[in-house]
């Protein structure tokens, strides 16, 4: 079963400067058309972040994305997740896709730890029943105990990350999307976090991971795509691609 199938998809961003975004300039353009030839042809400037990408992912695929900054790794993750729809080409998605791009997104400072578990859970697409059943397990993992009844603005940075990590790794995705490996800064916590992260990885049927860390890609991924300028330059078995990549860069 193909969870993700991308066919010749492009993602192009229109760049609206303040001029282009205003109604006034749109109306002025209407009036001008045909009378005074304007130097722009009425089209907005666009930036092509992904250019004719084709890809398919099935059960067991752990795809690594490598490439320079601006190569299109994050955009490809967002395309797969459904945040962006392709401006050209097509994509079909199956199963539950969970992007963990910003693990603290939506956390509310004035809500308690428990309330944030619920809020983040809902944002990650869990049902209220699912959240209730995982609440204890999440709470236990954070080791925050009574702090979970306090607003999280009282937390230290490390505690916040721990909570965000615990909630985000409680999801049951079919397709898991990661922008760099998520982790916690807390030294005593790292091993525990790594174990939990591995469990999450094993639950997911498909993983797509964008990373600048070649060792991480080698460890986690069985397939790798090398992106450059929005195109897939090479795709294939991780070791082959990595060797080429390291030779050149």
């Amino acid at each position: 079963m193909n969870y993700i199938k991308i066919n010749n998809a492009s993602v192009e961003f229109p760049i609206f400067d303040a001029q282009n975004r205003s109604i006034k300039s749109e109306i002025m353009k209407l009036g001008k058309r045909g009378i005074i030839s304007s130097d722009s042809n009425g089209k907005h400037v666009t930036i092509k972040s992904l250019d004719s990408v084709s890809l398919s992912l099935e059960h067991g695929d752990k795809l690594g994305l490598i490439g320079n900054n601006g190569a299109g790794k994050s955009t490809l993750l967002k395309l797969i997740s459904g945040i962006y729809e392709p401006s050209k080409g097509s994509i079909t998605r199956k199963g539950k896709i969970v992007p963990l791009l910003d693990i603290a997104l939506g956390m509310d400072d004035d809500s308690t730890g428990y309330q944030n578990i619920k809020l983040r859970g809902l944002l990650l697409g869990m049902t209220p029943a699912e959240i209730d059943s995982k609440r204890l397990e999440i709470a236990e993992f954070t080791e925050l105990e009574d702090y979970l009844n306090l607003p999280i603005r009282t937390y230290s940075m490390g505690m916040r990350i721990r909570l965000a990590f615990a909630i985000s790794t409680a999801v049951d995705p079919d397709v898991l999307l990661l922008d760099e490996v998520i982790g916690t800064g807390d030294a005593s916590f790292i091993q525990k976090a790594e174990k939990r992260f591995n469990e999450l990885k094993d639950r997911a049927k498909v993983i797509v991971l964008a990373s600048h860390d070649n060792a991480v890609i080698r460890r986690i991924c069985n397939k790798t795509a090398w992106l450059e300028g929005g195109k897939i330059k090479m795709i294939g078995e991780t070791e082959t691609i990595m060797r080429e990549y390291e030779k050149c860069c």
Binding site: P14, R21, E85, I97, D110, L119, L123, P128
Partner: protein, 260 residues
């Protein structure tokens, strides 16, 4: 069009857990650590109504027992409509972190905006209840008629809110245009006065959707009959507005994430 309803609007409505929490959090943010919280809305609105009631009642030469219910209901529901529409302009803009990071359904943010304003309306509605009971303008039999009118207005507000949200996202001047437009509407709509006081400029009432909305909400509560014309127009507007907006939503849906 069916697709966008089935894949975005309906699932959004169903995830009420999420939009109710998000709307509620935003409201709490505004009244953070204040001891009576959102009831400040009620208090300031109450004071405004009393002050305006005495002064404008005198200016218009209307008895207080006639004027105060009219003013209280008009103002409370105007604040609701105005809130949904002006905040609707920000519905997508202010949710851009979510839209850019999560593949959520987007109508959720409309539900969130309407819900937040609805909660504020409930707070203000206490004043309406107090006034209609004190001046005894309400009959039990008119409550269903009031509810009918309110639901028609509410449904209208949904499409207006969505349309404003999409347009504002693409054209960032739009929120300012809406804000100044609503300010003018406030003065030409029978909120501080009644429709009969404005008989000289009947056209202002005949073509003003907000005048119809106020009419079908307010009249049942003050023991009058709303104009059938107002119901008819509000319903027609609802049908055409909804179809038009869903069409716009359909064609712009995929671009929303690109416009943030």
């Amino acid at each position: 069009m069916i697709k966008v309803i089935k894949e975005d609007i309906l699932p959004s409505i169903k995830s009420w857990h999420l939009w109710s929490v998000l709307g509620w959090l935003e409201l709490r943010q505004r009244y953070k650590r204040s001891s009576i919280g959102p009831f400040w809305i009620t208090i300031s609105m109450g004071l405004l109504i009393i002050a305006l009631g005495y002064i404008y009642g005198e200016l218009f030469g209307v008895k207080l027992e006639e004027y105060l219910p009219l003013l209280a209901i008009g103002l409370v529901f105007w604040v609701f409509m105005n809130g949904v529409i002006t905040e609707g302009c920000q519905a997508f803009i202010s949710s851009s972190p979510y839209i850019g990071q999560l593949p959520t359904n987007k109508f959720i943010f409309i539900m969130q905006t309407v819900w937040r304003n609805f909660v504020m309306l409930i707070h203000n509605f206490i004043i309406v209840i107090a006034v209609v009971i004190y001046y005894d303008t309400l009959t039990i039999s008119s409550i269903p008629i009031f509810l009918l009118g309110f639901i028609i207005v509410l449904l209208n507000l949904f499409w207006i809110c969505l349309l404003c949200a999409i347009t504002s996202l693409r054209f960032r001047d739009f929120p300012q245009i809406v804000a100044s437009f609503m300010q003018i509407i406030f003065y030409i709509t029978p909120i501080l006065f009644s429709g009969t006081m404005l008989s000289k400029y009947k056209l202002l009432l005949a073509f003003n959707p907000f005048a119809w909305f106020i009419d079908i909400i307010r009249s049942p509560l003050i023991g009058q009959k709303a104009d059938l014309y107002s119901y008819y127009n509000a319903l027609t507007l609802l049908v055409f507005g909804t179809i038009f907006t869903i069409y716009i939503y359909k064609i712009s849906y995929k671009k929303i994430a690109y416009w943030i």
